[in-house]
């Protein structure tokens, strides 16, 4: 193409891009940036391929289930383009390693799936003066932009504060249209190539919003916030912080000792209670469409959003166990019920996924 030419192709060859995440967004990014001939591509990912990933993480296949995502992704990328230098960063990104990992790349692409890491990626990019090609998805909607480039805004200019944990469900919990990260990932790949080539008008200062159901693209103006603590005129953040704490997530501790009548309860114990005929109520706080896929016999469906309205169905004196898909939403339900004065409420650890693993493998996972 005349706009690229040999000069452009050489720019791509000389360029280095770091993909943070080899999941829904990382999949199309890895495929197309390798195809485009980006000279050096690094990938930060420590996870293993699960078959529930295959609905959207198209860089992995059925044969890769159980393999490290890095191994699977790199195999496909080097098949597409054996001349790309692929660099592994098999680690969880953290404040301890981010600056060191990022410094050797021209561009960082955020394909992560959680708020603490997004703030971490943002801050590290601003501190190191690297563009952050951002994309995010939820159900049928996506967002994309380029942060921290040429005087443009950063993520914290747009969202100084993360949402409280649990407000916005994950793709694993809330579901996502599998095709959606494909589109957003490819928008990110396009922006990455444009940045390398220095052509076109990038998404700096523009938030692209995509609505898959309405098939509409919208654009909102993004401004640099002069008060931004990371990139503003009076910066207060000059080094990486504890992002997990910033996002209000309690740090993970060693698995708690089994405690009677408060805290978590293991699925195996719940099964034992059901078999013994113990007097208790098992509530399932997932959504109706999840209940259709699989359920625990004897459970009552009360979706988390309806819990407040349906409190009348639950006796405050009775023993209650709440479960959801993986234990996150039911944790919120337990907290809520305790605030309402319910004394004997426990959260089934690991949710119905753990039930499938430990109690009844015929229960499908999703």
């Amino acid at each position: 193409m005349p706009e690229v030419g040999m000069e452009g192709q050489l720019k791509l060859k000389k360029a280095s891009v770091l993909l943070v995440g080899a999941g829904g967004l990382g999949a199309p990014l890895g495929l197309y940036l390798a195809a485009a001939g980006v000279g050096r591509i690094g990938m930060v990912e420590f996870d293993v391929v699960d078959f529930t990933n295959l609905q959207r993480q198209v860089i992995h296949g059925t044969k890769d289930v159980g393999r490290k995502k890095l191994d699977s992704a790199f195999e496909t990328m080097s098949d597409i383009n054996p001349f790309v230098k692929l660099e592994r960063h098999e680690t969880a990104l953290s404040s301890e390693n981010a600056m060191e990992i990022f410094k050797d790349y021209d561009i960082v692409v955020d394909g992560t799936d959680n708020f603490p890491t997004r703030y971490l990626v943002n801050d590290a990019c601003v501190l190191l003066n690297k563009p952050n090609v951002y994309g995010s998805i939820f159900r049928f909607e996506g967002q994309a932009t380029v942060f921290a480039y040429e005087g443009g805004p950063c993520y914290r200019c747009l969202y100084p504060e993360p949402p409280p944990p649990g407000l916005v469900p994950s793709c694993a919990e809330g579901g996502v249209l599998g095709i959606l990260p494909g589109i957003i990932g490819l928008i990110q790949a396009t922006e990455t190539v444009k940045l390398i080539l220095g052509i076109g008008e990038t998404l700096v200062g523009r938030l692209l919003l995509y609505d898959a159901l309405g098939m509409k693209f919208r654009e909102l103006k993004l401004r640099k916030n002069p008060e931004c603590p990371v990139c503003g005129d009076r910066r207060t953040v000059t080094k990486l912080i504890d992002y997990v704490e910033f996002c209000g997530v309690p740090h993970r501790e060693a698995p708690p000792e089994p405690v009677a009548a408060s805290g978590d309860i293991d699925p195996v114990e719940v099964k034992a209670k059901l078999d013994r005929g113990d007097k208790f109520t098992l509530i399932d706080v997932r959504e109706p469409h999840e209940f259709q896929i699989c359920r625990i016999p004897g459970s009552t469906l009360i979706p988390l959003g309806d819990l407040q309205k349906r409190l009348g169905e639950l006796d405050p004196e009775s023993e209650i166990v709440a479960h959801c898909k993986s234990g996150a939403r039911s944790g919120k339900a337990v907290d809520f019920l305790k605030q309402q004065g319910y004394k004997k409420v426990r959260n089934m650890k690991g949710g119905i996924l753990a039930w499938s693993d430990k109690v009844d493998p015929t229960v499908p996972k999703y």
């Binding site: 708020f115 969202y159 504060e161 654009e219 909102l220 401004r223």
Partner: protein, 98 residues
């Protein structure tokens, strides 16, 4: 009446609607009308001091109201207000990928 677009993560608190028409001459008026109609939305949009939470942005057409006068931003009947929350596109914070 202006239109206000409700983003997916907040529709559960707004009777599952994606668009609501509400009266108001300023952004503040429209948002007040919104939380009056859907009280559950209030705590997700506003903190205890009554300020709009900063993981939620409100746009008048394509401009962030933080830069057009915040709650005092004038709103016409042909305008669209959008609530744009941050989405991370993956696990909730604390999920296995941190």
């Amino acid at each position: 009446m202006a239109r206000i677009l409700i983003p997916t993560p907040l529709r559960q608190f707004a009777d599952k609607l994606d668009t609501v028409e509400l009266p108001g001459k300023t952004a503040g008026d429209v948002l007040t009308a919104l939380t009056a109609r859907f009280p559950d939305l209030k705590k997700h949009l506003y903190n205890d001091e009554g300020k709009l939470r900063s993981f939620v942005n409100v746009y008048l057409n394509d401009e962030d109201i933080r830069y057009t006068g915040k709650d005092a931003t004038p709103v016409a009947d042909s305008d669209t207000l959008s609530i744009v929350p941050s989405i991370a596109g993956g696990s909730i914070a604390g999920g296995k990928s941190v």
